[in-house]
Amino acid sequence: MKRLLFLTAAIAAPFVFPTIAQRNLLILIAINVILVASLDLLMGTAGLLSLGHAGFMGIGAYASALLVLHYRLPFPLALAAAAAAGGIAGLFIGYPSLRLRHHYFVLVTFIFGIILTLLFTSLVGITRGPMGLPGIPFAAIGVPGAGRHTFNTFQSKVDYYYLVVVVAAFVLWLRGRLWRGRLGFALVAIREEENLAMAVGIHTHRYKVLAFVVSTAIAGAAGSLYAHYTTFISPEVFTFVDSFNLFVMNMVGGAGTPAGPVVGPLLLTIVRDALRNISPVAAEIAFGVFLIAAIAFLPVGLMGALRRPGVRGG
């Protein structure tokens, strides 16, 4: 019932908010929902925090953009390749670093995120460095009979918005199902008591790596969706600050709650946009304040405060 409500609202949104700026914001919200939902796969179950998530998003964005630019790969394939790239990077980072527990792991993801930003900046031959990659083809989905779309028509934005919503709905669905499978059992057990989890036969490292790879693959896909929407990417949109903002959205919405990854991005993407029009610095300060407020007053987030989080998400 609640899910139906969300879905109806998501479908109706571009007609309620028809201006270019509003539709632009809707697409960014939907992309953030995907990112926060993927982050919450780790946070909301195992309590694992990745502070390098924007880096994995960046890997997907660059992989997808470069494949389309240089090899004229069709967008759906590029999207899949971006997910693969994010997942493979996640495997390489997650396998060694998930041997560490708690804040040691957070530290590794934080450092990795910074290294990635440096790589995006310094590998000028591939990424064009700080100049960024312009001219990424806009992935218009195109409704049959609706004619050719260009980036700036309302119509194409609505198409793209629905594409992102479909991906977001899929990710949220997958997240709900993951909670109920072996992986969900394992991750919750790891959060609650890792040694006991091992003692009852859970190969904790394997399940943490699996969850991390799924999470980073989704982040990679989100990067592709972002790149082929904005048609321009540069290292400064995949920084630690972006990772941190995703974390704040997850905390404010409520980690491990069914609707948290929708509510957090919805609220904070709008707030951030409004504040950015005043001053970009104000937006960052506000996010810091939101995080402190969330931890102090709403440790289970907005959605968690409304309803105690189901321990297995049920």
Partner: protein, 253 residues
Amino acid sequence: MPVLEVEHLTKFFGGFRAVADLSFVVEHGEILGLVGPNGAGKTTTFNLITGFIPPTAGRIRFHGEDVTGRPPHEMAHRGLVRTFQNTKVFAQLTVEDNIRTGCFLQLPRGMRATMLGLSAAEEAALRTRVDELITFTGLQSHRKTVAQDLSYGDQRTLEIAIALGADPRLLLLDEPFAGMSRGEADRCMALIHRTRERGVTVLLVDHHMDTLMKHCHRLVVMHHGEKLAEGPPEVIRADPKVIDTYLGGRVDA
């Protein structure tokens, strides 16, 4: 064939010798007590047997197979499951979900069950198993209680229920009676006896010699990481070395 064979097990932490050349066997269907004062190396021995730490030297065989240095989850998979000295449960989960998680090894395998959840039939089978364990351990009235809200004694019972979920062949209990009232300890011991009757061999660690004397088939007495004595309670009770070092001097009859 013995369930567990410990051969010349030795563990050094830096220069400190926690366990030294310890050998004993656990026979099928018995309750073996591992006893000794605090610091005798009992918990270290547990951690070595269950793969939580690797031994410096020595072998561990489980059902004849060399399992030395294998990781804990693999030990559990082979049927060797432990509890912890300082009670460990999944604190924020209900009793029911704690036991469900304990049944992890019984969950169906494969991509679908891992990523997308259980089918209705699998869910029903799991529920049956959890119900049986709740009844067996007498936790019926606490099914929906969050583990951290349980009394201490009930938490320890839950620990055993979680461990039984993994379907152990050998259950290792690390000081299950610590901090329990007399009544709780008696109920816990009765549960351990019922567990044995299910066909589970039990290795029990404690420092209360009298409790173990009363309930174990055999005892292994440890002192400063070494084995002091091994045998049935009546032999241990009469062993001069045990009397000297552990029971506090010879008592003349």
